[in-house]
Subunit: 106 residues, 2 copies
Amino acid sequence: MQVKGRIWIELAEQSMIGGGKAELLDKTAKLGSLRKAATEMQMSYRQAWYSINQMNTSAPEPLIILKRGGKEGGIAEITNYGKSILKRYKELQSTFQKFLSEQNNI
Amino acid sequence: MQVKGRIWIELAEQSMIGGGKAELLDKTAKLGSLRKAATEMQMSYRQAWYSINQMNTSAPEPLIILKRGGKEGGIAEITNYGKSILKRYKELQSTFQKFLSEQNNI
């Protein structure tokens, strides 16, 4: 028998960031491009855009800014708020993984 | 912002016990009746029966034994295996709730 779980951060009512969204946010910030992040995650650009847009509009502040233009058709820039949420989420994930392995070693 | 999560125990492949099933198991054992447990949980008897049956057949051992007959039409008895799983799940839930409040106080 194995203990499993999932964890997420509620930023506001109707606004949460968990595994998939956090990964999309992270990759978009690192690659500076939503299109590249979507490709890496095998999502459609449309899905990825919808997901980022939903995060940005439902959270207290936007997490990532998408700008049109540029050589590769659009630049994505993470905000300070986005950075702080992502950092918090990563810490949380790692503490939670430790919690799960402790529980699985009881 | 608030940290939230969910936790469950995987008893075998395709077999897990989490919030709803644990509550049903607990109530059925306490009340000695699946019908009463279903009523308390505002589930149909059919749903409750299906859920218990699914747990019993997919887990390594049955968790609860349903017997026909008796004055109130059917008796439910938790097995030792069911008891141990339920105990483990309750401990886990309480440790996890502590974990969540700690995370929400950072």
